[in-house]
């Protein structure tokens, strides 16, 4: 059912999410939906943007998962964030002239491309849309700050637990998972690159989280069995996600 809606109204979910923070008038909404756009199905592993690209389009992930990454001069990869359905992929490139990182798909996905100039013109002409889009890029920035902390100062267990908590809460806020039960679309190698660990270390941590009764894992399906304890291990507070309807206050329990 979700799939049907997605093809019919590819930008509906994105707009809905924007409006959780910043209400838009029906004219704003119409103007947004009237943007020229192209729908594309792409395979896992495809690049949506590469570092150094001069962007001509901005892209929204309608269905599927992606990640942002940078590769160091020595060839090691750092994953910077995970994009979920309804995320803008590279709206920062609307006003930055060169892409400073790459975005690659984790799964086969449906994406919408919007010409950069049309989007620029729209956000400048319609302040409410501009504010809504800025708001979403500010939340992205907040998530990035948390990732600096995660790889900079947390131990391996906390890093992995934190990334699981974040992923679950973000999915749930979009109605894509329920109560700590979700598919994690990442290999252990990708998890390692997101947490600056080795795949072996990631594997060991996942096993120990399971042995301690914090999570249940079956292939890629993850289930939280002790949400409160997992948050504690992760040093996780959802404040930085700035989720709507919580007055930005950290929630004690889910």
């Amino acid at each position: 059912m979700r799939g049907y809606q997605v093809v019919e109204y590819p930008l509906k979910a994105f707009l809905q999410d924007l409006q959780e923070h910043s209400p838009l008038s029906s004219e704003d909404e119409k103007a947004f939906l009237a943007l020229p756009m192209r729908l594309r199905h792409l395979d896992a592993g495809s690049y949506l943007v590469r570092e150094g690209d001069i962007p001509t389009h901005c892209c929204i992930l309608v269905d599927g998962y992606a990640f942002r990454q940078k590769v160091t001069g020595h060839g090691s990869r750092q994953i910077l964030s995970v994009c979920i359905p309804g995320d803008a992929i590279d709206f920062q490139n609307m006003f930055l002239d060169i892409s400073d990182h790459a975005v690659q798909l984790l799964t086969r996905s449906l994406v919408v491309d919007i010409p950069r100039e049309a989007l620029q013109e729209l956000v400048l002409r319609r302040p409410a849309i501009g504010v809504a889009v800025i708001h979403s890029t500010l939340i992205e920035a907040s998530i990035l700050r948390e990732w600096v902390v995660n790889v900079g100062r947390r131990d391996a267990r906390a890093r992995i637990a934190h990334i699981l908590c974040e992923f679950a809460v973000r999915l749930e806020a979009r109605g894509l998972a329920s109560r700590g039960n979700f598919e994690l679309p990442m290999t252990q190698e990708q998890l390692a690159d997101a947490t600056s660990l080795t795949p072996v270390h990631v594997n060991r941590v996942l096993k120990s989280l399971q042995a301690e009764g914090l999570i249940n894992r079956q292939r890629r399906n993850i289930q939280f069995t002790d949400w409160r304890a997992l948050q504690e291990v992760a040093d996780f507070s959802r404040r930085y996600l700035h989720l709507p309807g919580e007055d930005d206050v950290a929630v004690a329990a889910m």
């Binding site: 930055l96 400048l124 708001h135 990035l144 902390v149």
Partner: protein, 241 residues
């Protein structure tokens, strides 16, 4: 003689980027603000507080940080004069991290209401503000890579390269020389290292004749060498924008 206006450096920085009209410039100058000063390590913004102002740094340095439950600190970015330390709080209602004054600093606190109306009414100003926050994000991304995937020498060298380029733009760094404001503890907290490790790494950069550090002045002796050690590419600073 007209009195020096504290927001003038901001007007200059923004108008260069976004081709401000005289009207745009005047609108920024007309913003209400309160000047405040902070001592070393004083908190300018605290995580969890409801935000009422955005803070423009006029003098000195500031840094963003987060504290872990066990008390460990991670510094997330440094800020230099003419930059906002918390522009995101114009739209986000609650501060999601702390901002501390590095040494003695002076700021202009601008109430978020007038600042946001200004952005509403002037597309150029909205764009200038937006680009500030986008460049902040780009720097955060680079810092995830820095603490995540570089070794200790590269982390420190990378941070030094970043400071040099950003300070050169304000004229605070000339011929690769600037007043180095960071303690080794702050340097450690910015690179995810221990203070001891940071000290050892700084020594090794000095021994390799890449930098000199004495009497609080840092001099880059070998810029190309430092860049190479730091795996540094300034693209992420988007200085052309």
């Amino acid at each position: 003689m007209s009195e020096f206006h504290h927001l003038e450096p901001l007007v200059r920085r923004w108008s260069k980027r976004c081709r401000f009209s005289p009207d745009d410039c005047d609108a920024v100058r007309a913003l209400p603000y309160t000047r405040r000063t902070f001592g070393k390590d004083a908190y300018i913004v605290r995580e969890g507080e409801h935000t009422t102002d955005c803070t423009l740094l006029l003098r000195g340095f500031a840094f963003r940080q987060k504290l872990l439950t066990d008390g460990d600190r991670q510094i997330i970015s440094f800020h230099i004069p003419t930059e906002f330390v918390d522009l995101q709080n114009g739209l986000l209602g609650v501060a999601d991290h702390n901002v501390q004054s590095l040494n003695h600093s002076e700021v202009a606190s601008i109430p978020r209401g007038p600042l946001m109306s200004l952005a509403d009414e002037h597309p150029n100003i909205r764009l200038a503000m937006w680009i500030d926050t986008l460049i902040d994000s780009s720097v955060f991304r680079e810092w995830v890579v820095n603490v995540g995937r570089r070794d200790s020498r590269a982390r420190i060298a990378h941070l030094l390269c970043e400071l040099v380029l950003r300070l050169e733009r304000t004229g605070a760094c000339r011929d690769g020389m600037f007043d180095f404001p960071l303690t080794q503890e702050q340097l450690a907290d910015a690179t995810g290292l221990t203070a001891v490790h940071t000290n050892r790494t700084l020594q090794s950069l000095r021994r390799d004749n890449l930098i000199q550090l004495s009497n609080g002045i840092l001099r880059v002796v070998d810029w190309e060498g430092l860049r190479e050690v730091g795996d540094f590419d300034e693209l992420y600073l988007h200085q052309q924008v």
